[in-house]
């Protein structure tokens, strides 16, 4: 089903006779987890307002992320939270959309410095499961008028409502960037180095450990970046010599990390694990004990990407550690047996179910997508 505006979207939901599978570009590749009639948001596209001097942008949910990024780039601005493009990882080909990005709260390496997608969402318009057209938030940067349903909608994966329009805070793009690369650190030592860098006043905008390299990104005005790079290298000298890479190399490195390129075209399941950064290496070690695991650390160690053989439940590595694991890429069978989303405690599950029952009384919006039964 295709809809071209909010009214059509509302009518489509009201007249639905069964479950709806809400889809933007379908780049995350798990739409088939939901059986139902497909409802595409691609027709809800277009830039409604863009005010570079106010750092605000209002766009339809179906607008391709690439179109927005090109528009911003022409004004020297960007989506600061650096949304990942899932296509390479999942082997999908549709265009990543702003609505999909918001519905999944997709953020990249810069999340460690500036915040997540949800932190840059100023307002939403959506249609709930009863067909009501709802707005929340707005297009100004400070707004505490009523409850913040903007955050609730971000990361609700189309289960509370179908996003139709979003307003976003954008930021100036950096004039230049540099990356410090230290080679040869083991996981624990690498995460220590990242923590030492993040706890210093050098405005680190990326902190990762991948493919044997420990990486730190600095961005800003040219003079400031080179001065900070030198200071940071000195600050980290106990971890070994740091090579300083230029803007071009920096762009390539962090795009590769953002899109988890090392796991593209590799068999196995890809897990995305969110923990306290210093717990990262413990998770990594536990996963390696469980089987042939490949690990990438982003967000200073707080985001662990793991490539594991099929059928292994990475959540077992989280025993006694606070955090959660999402199955980011797997075949349908594994998504069903392992569950894409982390199971919730009984009391949280009750609240989530209560919210879904009120936002989507007929239970037709991506039903069951976010629920995973507790195992054992």
């Amino acid at each position: 089903m295709h809809v071209c505006d909010e009214k059509e979207l509302s009518e489509a939901i009201v007249s639905a006779e069964g479950p709806l599978r809400i889809i933007g570009g379908g780049t995350r590749g798990f739409a088939d987890t939901v059986s139902g009639t497909e409802l595409s948001t691609l027709g809800l596209n277009g830039v409604r307002v863009y005010k570079p001097g106010a750092l605000t942008l209002v766009v339809g949910a179906g607008t391709p992320v690439s179109e927005v990024e090109a528009l911003l780039q022409a004004q020297g601005q960007r989506l600061a939270f650096e949304p990942m493009d899932h296509r390479g990882l999942t082997g999908q080909s549709g265009p990543p959309t702003i609505g999909g990005m918001a519905a999944a709260n997709v953020s990249g390496p810069r999340r460690i410095q500036v915040g997540a997608c949800r932190d840059f969402l100023l307002g939403v318009r959506f249609v709930d499961g009863a067909g009501r057209i709802i707005k929340n938030g707005g297009r100004v940067m400070k707004n505490v008028t009523g409850y913040d349903l903007v955050k609730l909608m971000a990361g609700s994966f189309g289960t509370l409502g179908v996003l139709s329009e979003l307003s976003l805070k954008v930021l100036p793009a950096a004039e230049t960037a540099a990356t410090l690369r230290i080679e040869g650190l083991d996981d624990s030592r690498a995460i220590e180095a990242l923590a030492a860098a993040l706890a210093a006043p050098f405005d680190v905008s990326g902190a990762a450990h991948t493919e044997g390299a420990t990486l730190l990104r600095l961005e800003g005005f040219a003079q400031s970046v080179s001065a900070r790079a030198k200071k940071l290298a000195t600050h980290l000298s106990r971890f070994g010599p740091a090579e300083i890479l230029d803007h071009t190399a920096t762009d390539m490195i962090w795009k590769r990390l953002r899109d988890v390129v090392p796991f593209h075209d590799r068999p196995g399941n890809v897990w995305r694990i969110s923990v306290k950064p210093s717990d990262g290496p413990r998770i990594g070690a536990a996963l390696r004990d469980m089987g042939e695991a490949q690990i990438i650390y982003d967000w200073g160690g707080g985001l662990v990407w793991a490539l594991l053989p099929d059928d292994i439940d990475a959540r077992a590595a989280l025993q006694g550690i606070r955090g959660h694991a999402r199955l980011e890429r797997a075949n349908l069978e594994n998504r069903k047996t392992l569950g894409v989303f982390a199971p919730e405690s009984a009391v949280i599950a009750q609240i989530s179910a209560g919210l879904r029952a009120r936002f989507d009384p007929r239970g037709i919006l991506n039903p069951g997508l976010m629920q995973t039964a507790k195992r054992g």
Binding site: R111, D119, V140, K142, T145, P172, A199, A227, P277, H324
Partner: protein
Amino acid sequence: MDMPTPDPSVLSRKDEIVARLRAALPEGAVIADPTETRAYECDALTAYRCPPLAVVLPASTAEVAAVLKICHAARVPVVPRGSGTSLSGGALPTADSVILGVSRLNQVLETDYQNRFIRVQSGRTNLSVTGAVEANGFFYAPDPSSQLACAIAGNVAMNSGGAHCLKYGVTTNNLLGVTLVQMDGTVIEIGGAHLDAAGLDLLGVICGSEGQLGVVTEATLRILHKPEGARPILIGFDSNEAAGACVADIIKAGVLPVAIEFMDRPCIRATEAFVHAGYPDVEALLIVEVEGDKADIDAQLARISDIATRHNPVEIRQSKSPEESARIWAGRKSAFGAMGQINDYLCLDGTIPVSQLPHVLQRIRQLSGQYGLDVGNVFHAGDGNMHPLILFDANKPGDLAKAEAMGADILRLCVEVGGCLTGEHGVGVEKRELMFDQFSAEDMAVQMAVKDVFDPGWLLNPAKVFPLSVSNAHRAP
């Protein structure tokens, strides 16, 4: 302003309810004597007062849970209270309510510099959170102007901002997790030291829910290393249009200051008379602060100065020392006090798109003429969060009502130009009835559905945020 009629069945059971609370809490944690509960009859919105049924001051999450269980069973409304600094009446009691004050929950539970967070009990004051980590070079970024007194519990409830949120965001962007006690006494942990929520972002909707979804007893907060330095530049203009255009150009140029503060002529004159900061007598004044190391600050200030020069400023004053910085900030920091010297004032907090600044200031001036009340404007220009201060005489009959009517007109104007009623103070009781101007009935129904899930009996701070006529059906027993 209307409040719901107190429930007579609660009022008549006061002794029994107080006895149950006393049995559950340590000695001295329950206040029921009317001369003592008077201290809790209002918050910083002092125009409205009502002594509560009783006040409880629990010192642990378990004690908070015990209080809520008792009140839940007895169907007694509970009004959570941080430090009582709300400007919107968020902690205003009703006669049948128990005030749950978190002031005894003031401990630091954990500081973790490696993972850059602090976990505190929610009664701890905002400034003392920074106080707990600053010896190690860290700080907690949100800095509401009441930060010396205001509690983290209130900051979370109102999603408080501050002067530096252009760069660092507001409370919700710096909050990693909470311990929340639901009205029925259930304790839940949401979020933690990891960055992303599992499942629905409940933390995001709890923050800013004005104490209506649960009582936050502990909070995990992001801490940051202090920048090497910070310095402001002061720029004076002979028109609001020029100042507004300069703000937009600074932002467009890719400089991201930590703060861009704006003052208009009435405010400049009042502060000059009060603290003699040496501000130029201009139509509009900007204070722009940037951070970094010395070279970085110099480079950023040079860029800002270049941009400002293109807008024909009357004066540009770049700070070169801590003393000069302090002098530039002196007037801005005392602006509210200076206006208070002239008369009583009503402080508004609507937000507008920055591009609408000159238009809105002009309309405010017209309204000021119509109502015959003076207005000074001092606000966070970078994010469009305005603070018009309407001067009135509290001793003159009808003056408060007139000021409130004018305030409502200004807030409607904010909504009309694409902004909102409140940027950081919250709706509370003050702006409750204006919600109709920003939201449709359905917009509000969906928000109230969230409260229905967390607090089905509508016992937590029930008479706030939503217009009474709209929330009535939910609140009815």
